[in-house]
Structure formats: C-alpha cells, structure tokens
Amino acid sequence: MNEERERLFRKLSREEKNDEMIAVESQTFLQAAWKNFKKNKRALVSGIVLLVVIALAIFGPMMVRYSYETQDPSARNMSASAQHWFGTDKFGRDIFVRILYGARISLMVGLVAAVINLAFGTIYGGISGYAGGKVDMMMMRVVDIIYSVPSMLYVVLIMLLFGASVTSVMIGISISSWIEMARIVRQEVLSLKEQEFTMAAFVLGASGKRILLKHLILNAMGPIIVTVTFMVPQAIFTEAWLSFLGIGISAPLASWGTLAQDARALIEVYPMQTVYPMLAICITIFAFNFVGEGLGRALDPKSKR
C-alpha cells in the first residue's frame, strides 16, 4: 500500500509548493517606486547625469588648478586643449573652471528656490484645501491675482529693489513660483480629506494640524516631490536668463547665464565660448526634467501597467 502511494504521489519540495502562490512579494512604497523608476532608462540615465553634475559642482572647484577669477593675459581666447579643457575667455580665464563654479551658483539657486517653494507652497495649499469654504476661496483668489502677473516682472522688481545678487535672484524667483505648488497640494488635500482614513483619524481625536501634516500632506508626497523636481530646472532657467540679459548675477561671480552673456560679444569669432555654458544649462535642465517625468510615473500608483 505504501509503495503504491509512493509510486503515485511524490512529496513536493518547498520551492515547488510556492509555485502556486499568485501574490507578488510585498513592497514598501519607496521600494515599489524605485523599481518603477529603474525601469525608465531615460530617467535613470538622467539621474546619474544629475549626480555627476552635482558632484562636479561640489568637489570640482577643489581639484582644479585655476581659480575662477585668475586672469592670464598670455592665454586669451584659447581653444580647447589639455591645459584648458574648454579653452579660455577674453581675459584668459579657464572656461571649464568657470563653468564648475557656475554650476555651484546655478544649482544653489535652483535648490533654494525649490525648498522655499516646497515649504511655502505646501503649507499654503494644505491650509487652503483643508480649511475649505470661504477661507479656501479667499486664499485661492489671492493666488489667482499673484499668478496673473508674469513672474518675470516680480523678479525684475525685486532685482531693482535689492540690487543684483544671488539672494535677490532667489527671492524674485520664489515670489511667484510657489503658487503652482500651492495649487497642486490644495487639489490633493481636497480629494484626500474626503477619504475614510481622514475620517478615522478625526474620530480617533487627532488634531487638525496632525491630520493635515501626518495624513494629508504625507499622502500627497508623490505629486509634491514631482513638482519640486520640475521647479529646480525652472529656477535655474530663470536665473540663467536674467544673468544672460545682464540684470542677474554680475562679475566676478559667474553663473552659466553670465558666462553665456560674457561670451556673446565675441560670438562671431569664438562661438564655442557661448556653446559650453549653454550646453551645461541644457544638460542640467534636461536631466532634471527627465528625472521629474520618471518620478512622476514611478510615484503615481495609478500609472502602474
């Protein structure tokens, strides 16, 4: 009898038993997001490029032989060589080194603007959405009014008021760009606050502040992160644009926009001097945009295919 049973049936190994399991391995939110993000090759490559740019901006200036303001009259307007990777400008300053320093300024402007937007926009939008009713209406009208004036005009006014400096560029950029964040957070909070878990938190006696911060805003983190990622390149662009017009950051400090502006006068003779800083701006802005796009797909649970 036993022999007969052994002939007909065989004991399964542990792996074979699990073959029938249909459920996928359980993942935390971040694990799932990372897995989705990795699948997007364009975003992944852009992420790596960004890390390289950031590393160059932080450590690059420490490792180079020239300073951003050392002038060398014997080496003016040189083309690219082993000594000067991107050549030199009309004062004999090394363009590669100036671009490294420019990266610090441009990235810093982008990051600070993004942090200010994050803090202010999230709080404003959160309160507006959570309070609802008349408060929401008033707060959104204010936002509408600020938003209908193009941000360029604010930046220009701030620059006139505080003078041309890195700080005033950052203030000017932040003045109107938090609005987008506020609108997105408000939208998210409006829909999240109707869901059951908010009700549950309320019934358990959580305070309004706690519900807003721990439950609503934390759940809206996906769109918030994506918006922040898109804000950084916008700020970098605005700064580059201002400096390019000669009303932003001025010499001897040099952002990428200033570098392009400096080289513009010689554009017919040495076009490459304008091309390098422009390439730096483009690469950074692209990388941020693609990473933002990838994050958007990775962090949105609805977009899972």
Binding site: P150, V156, P271, M278, C282
Partner: protein
C-alpha cells in the same frame, strides 16, 4: 453669462490695481532718490522734485499716479529727460507687435498642424519621434535656441540676417526662436484634445454617413478640439511678451523688451514701472479675453465653475 463676465472683469481689475500698487510701493522703497545722481541741490532740487511730484507724501503720490494712469499718462522718464513714458512705450511697441503677430500666427498654424498630424498617425514610432521633438521644444530655454539659431544660421551659414527687423527675412530667426516653445505646447494640446474628440460617437456617426476624411477632420473634430488651444492663447501672449525681452536684446530689435532691459540697467524707475504695468495689463486683458471667448464658444465652461 453676464454674471460670469462681470466676475471675471472684477478679478481682472483687482489684479491690475494690485499690480500698480506693488510696482508703486517697490519704486518708493528703492534706496535713494532718482534725482540724486543729477548733482543738483537746494532750490533746483526742490523745483525738480516738485516737477516730478516727489515732494508730496507717498499716499498722495500714489493717487496722483493712479489718476494719471487712467488718463493714459505714465509720467516722465527719469533718465531720458523730457520724454513721456507713454511716448517711449508707444514708439517701441510697433516692432514687438509685428514680431509677436508673426510668431502668433505661425504658432497657431504650425502648432495645430503638427497636432493634427500627430493625432492622425497610426504608427507609434513616428508619434514617438514627434513627441521627443516637442519635449525638446518645451525644455530648451528660449535664449539658448535664439543663440544657437544665431550661431548656426546667422554667423556660420549666413542664411539669415540677425540684426533688426528691416525685411521679411529678418523675421525668420527671431520668430522661430520665440515660437518653438508655444508651437510645441499648442501641438501637444491639439493632439491630446483631437484624440479625445476622435473617440466621440458623432465622429463615428459622421464616418458612417460616408463623409470625407477632410470634412470630418476640419468640421467635426477640429472645431471641438480647438477649445484648449483658445484657452492657451492668453498665456501665449504673455509668453511672447515676456520672451520678447530676450529675443529683442539678442537680435537688436528696438521693441518694448529691449527698452525694458535698458530701463532696468539705467535704473529708470518710472520707465520700468510704466512698462511693467503696460505688459502686466496686456497680459491680464488677454487672459480675460481668452476666458471669455472660451465660455462664449463652449457654454459648458461657465456652468462648471
């Protein structure tokens, strides 16, 4: 309908007033008097201050400014002695308008055209190529496009002139540089709304009736698919106006954008103020018009708000 129009008009007026108030306060907060650099003292200074109305308290100055504004008088330029700000604006608006109009029409025709082509292709590969092109179009900053076009087609190949707006050929490069972003945006808008409308029952119905593809595309689909494009026309005017600041400086076009940057670098406060209010006003009016046209064309909009 009337209520909606009035409401929108009210918001527009409040925004305009806030803009005037902000610019006015800012210029009052600026350090130093605009007359300081003129090397005048004593009775002459007092007389000049009286002429520019600087001897009165700020609040009274504000109301005088507002009253003058209503009569179309934006005050005198501080730096170009004896010229009215309104005259400077009137003289420089011509080139900006001409370039803007060319870009505007070009954007609508090409943008909508690309959008339709994209929506009608069945090949995902071709669509992908278009899409990457448009992504590029929205993410490259306008001054970089302008510079690149200048280097390649103006300086290296010498196909097009790069200074001023004398002949139709002069319009080519600045119009493309200015139009690339709005073209990409319009194409994306048209494509997505075109695809949306294509799925509607009445399109199937029209096809079943045996109407030609041309009639269906233009009369049935396009008419309904253009709504988002109409809404976008307001922001587009804003974009062209603010963009003109860069383009006009690069291509040395004597328009309002160039005048604006000159005013900023010269610290000509009244001129900066005047142009700010002028640009802001145009943008507010255009947004208002776009909204009104939209609610007129599509009655569903005003009911949903």
């Amino acid at each position: 309908m009337v209520k909606y129009v009035l409401q929108r008009l009210g918001i527009g007026l409040v925004t305009l007033f806030v803009l005037v108030a902000i610019t006015f306060t800012m210029t009052k907060l600026m350090p130093g008097s605009p007359l300081q650099s003129k090397n005048v003292t004593g009775a002459v200074l007092e007389k000049m201050e009286a002429k520019y109305g600087l001897d009165k308290p700020p609040v009274q100055q504000f109301f005088i400014y507002c009253a003058n504004l209503l009569r179309g008088d934006l005050g005198m330029s501080y730096k170009k002695v004896g010229t009215n700000v309104s005259d400077i604006i009137a003289n420089s608006i011509g080139p900006t308008m001409r370039l803007g109009l060319v870009t505007f029409c070009m954007t609508l025709v090409i943008g909508v055209g690309i959008g339709i082509l994209m929506a009608r292709t069945r090949s995902n590969f071709i669509k992908g190529i278009w899409l990457s092109g448009l992504t590029l179009g929205v993410s490259v900053p306008n001054f970089i496009i302008a510079l690149l076009l200048m280097i390649i087609f103006g300086v290296q190949l010498r196909w097009f002139p790069i200074l001023g707006l004398a002949t139709p050929m002069h319009f080519v490069l600045p119009a493309i540089a200015q139009g690339l972003y709005p073209i990409s945006a319009v194409a994306r808008l048209t494509q997505s709304s075109f695809e949306e409308v294509m799925k509607q029952d009445y399109v199937t119905m029209a096809r079943a009736k045996g109407l030609s593809a041309r009639v269906i595309t233009f009369r049935h689909i396009l008419k309904n698919a253009l709504l988002p494009v109409i809404t976008y026309m307001g922001p587009m005017v804003a974009f062209l106006l603010t963009g003109s600041v860069v383009i006009e400086n690069l291509y040395t076009i004597p328009g309002i954008g160039k005048e604006f940057v000159n005013a900023i670098t010269n610290h000509d406060y009244t001129l900066v103020m005047g142009i700010t209010i002028f640009i802001g006003g145009i943008i507010i009016v255009c947004n208002l018009l776009a909204d009104l046209i939209c609610s007129f064309v599509d009655p569903r909009i005003k009911n949903s708000r």
